[in-house]
């Protein structure tokens, strides 16, 4: 009989923070015993415990704050982004599955193709849920809210109202962010699941032959960095969609992210062991370039690519800052439009 009470109290307190457990336990036990008649039978105990209700619900009442992974403020954005990603990832992974079968030397039966396609799609669905939920849970934890920034809870003022005019200077282009999410998802799916698909494709008598761009063993060393950058970039895009407009802190975050991307990209590009030497040999054969010239080409290509990456990063970062401030330069089109409208 006492054992029932012990089990009930235990079921409640094991769900509570350690610091309050003992105190709640003795108080709860006291209250339950108070509710029992003097010479209580097991039936009385059962009646009282049932009156107290489900221990899980009771523990929730005792807990200081409601806990959730993704709160109501973020939920709509979560569903939107999940839909976008669910449209892309399963298709990408399904086709990656098909490509995997196609590249097998022995070829595959129809059944192999169907199985690869379906399992790729299922993987895509699972990964979509996992990663989107992870990103949103992190944002929820950091305190991101619709239209407000993390770690910066300021009182709302009328100035924060989104402008009525569509062509606002600091508005974030949703389409651009959605494209960026699609690109990130597709790129990271290929890099993680079928990196050998990045390569020089040739049709031979036995079907397609691919010479990979990357040294696959070496590439694995870069995966953690690439994966974390993808998650951060994904989160940044989602946050831009949620926030809807450029702000100074967002521009700073954007710049830091660009910096990180450029850093990892430069590191990877200058790492000769990351590139498959077989590719260069084959390219030399195909384009009938002498081995000496072929040695120089990767160096030139790397320099050009790094220059392009740095340029794009600088431009994109600068754009963030320009758009988050009232900059004269960007006022111009509006002014010209207004001036032209006034003339008519």
């Amino acid at each position: 009989m006492m054992e029932l009470i012990d089990r009930y109290v235990q079921a409640v307190t094991e769900r509570l923070p350690e610091s309050t457990r003992d105190d709640v336990a003795s108080e709860l036990r006291g209250n339950i015993e108070d509710m029992l008649p003097d010479d209580a039978t097991e039936k009385d105990v059962r009646a009282v415990l049932e009156k107290m209700g489900n221990p899980v619900a009771l523990a929730n009442e005792y807990r200081p704050s409601k806990r959730y992974l993704i709160g109501p403020a973020m939920y709509d954005a979560y569903v939107d982004v999940l839909k976008i990603v669910l449209c892309i990832a399963p298709i990408v992974l399904a086709f990656l599955g098909l490509a995997g079968v196609a590249l097998e030397p022995s070829g595959g039966s129809y059944l192999d193709y169907i199985v690869a396609f379906i399992s790729g799609a299922v993987q895509g669905v699972v990964h979509s849920f996992v990663w989107v939920t992870l990103v949103f849970a992190i944002m929820e934890w950091a305190g991101v809210d619709e239209g407000s920034l993390p770690f910066n809870k300021k009182e709302w003022s009328v100035d924060d109202l989104p402008p009525a005019v569509q062509s606002s200077k600091n508005r974030i282009d949703r389409a651009e962010e959605i494209f960026s999410i699609i690109f990130t998802v597709a790129f990271i799916s290929i890099i993680v699941f079928k990196p050998e698909l990045f390569g020089w494709w040739e049709q031979t008598n036995e079907g397609w032959n691919v010479i990979p761009v990357f040294d696959l063993a070496r590439l694995e060393a870069y995966l953690p960095a690439m994966l974390s950058l993808a998650v951060i970039g994904f989160g940044l895009s989602v946050y831009k969609i949620v926030a809807g407009k450029w702000t100074m802190p967002l521009a700073v975050a954007n710049m830091l992210f660009n910096l990180a991307i450029a850093f990892v990209a430069c590191l990877a590009l200058t790492d000769r062991s990351l590139w498959n030497p077989g590719l260069f040999t084959r390219m030399g054969e195909v384009f009938e370039v002498s081995a000496g010239t072929m040695d120089m080409i990767p160096g030139i290509a790397v320099t050009v690519t790094i220059a392009a990456i740095v340029l794009i990063s600088v431009l994109d970062s600068a754009m963030g800052f320009l758009k988050s401030k009232d900059v004269r330069l960007l006022d111009m089109p509006d002014k010209i439009r207004g001036w032209m409208g006034a003339e008519r």
Binding site: E27, G30, D34, M35
Partner: protein
């Protein structure tokens, strides 16, 4: 056909309505030290039952908000945790009481007005 869901809706709205009055109900009875069960009985006698599963956790929450102070009494056979209004709790109670009287006055006007219109 719709009666089942109407019934449910009314139930959930009533629960919501009552939830807002819980704190005031509890604070009103805390002029003297009370422990969980004694308070539950006191409320029951006055026909203002609060489920024990709601009441006991609520007492702890109010203590955490500094509206109640507590002490363990171990002199009797069964140790009991007694709660009592703090100074701040007393002030909050007085102000809540005023708000409630105000609110119910206004609501009575609103509800009364509607009755005049329909009858």
């Amino acid at each position: 056909m719709a009666t089942g869901s109407t019934e449910e809706l009314v139930d959930s709205l009533v629960v919501e309505l009552r939830r807002g009055t819980l704190v005031l109900s509890v604070l009103s009875q805390m002029g003297h030290p009370e422990y969980g069960y004694s308070l539950a009985q006191k409320l029951e006698e006055k026909d203002a039952v609060i489920e024990p599963g709601t009441l006991y956790p609520l007492l702890r929450r109010l203590e955490k908000q500094n509206l109640l102070v507590s002490r363990w009494d171990t002199s009797e056979s069964r140790p009991r945790k007694y709660y009592e209004l703090s100074e701040e709790g007393n002030e909050v109670y007085e102000r809540l009481k005023e708000e409630w009287l105000n609110l119910s006055r206004k609501l009575n006007v609103l509800i009364g007005g509607e009755n005049d219109g329909t009858d």
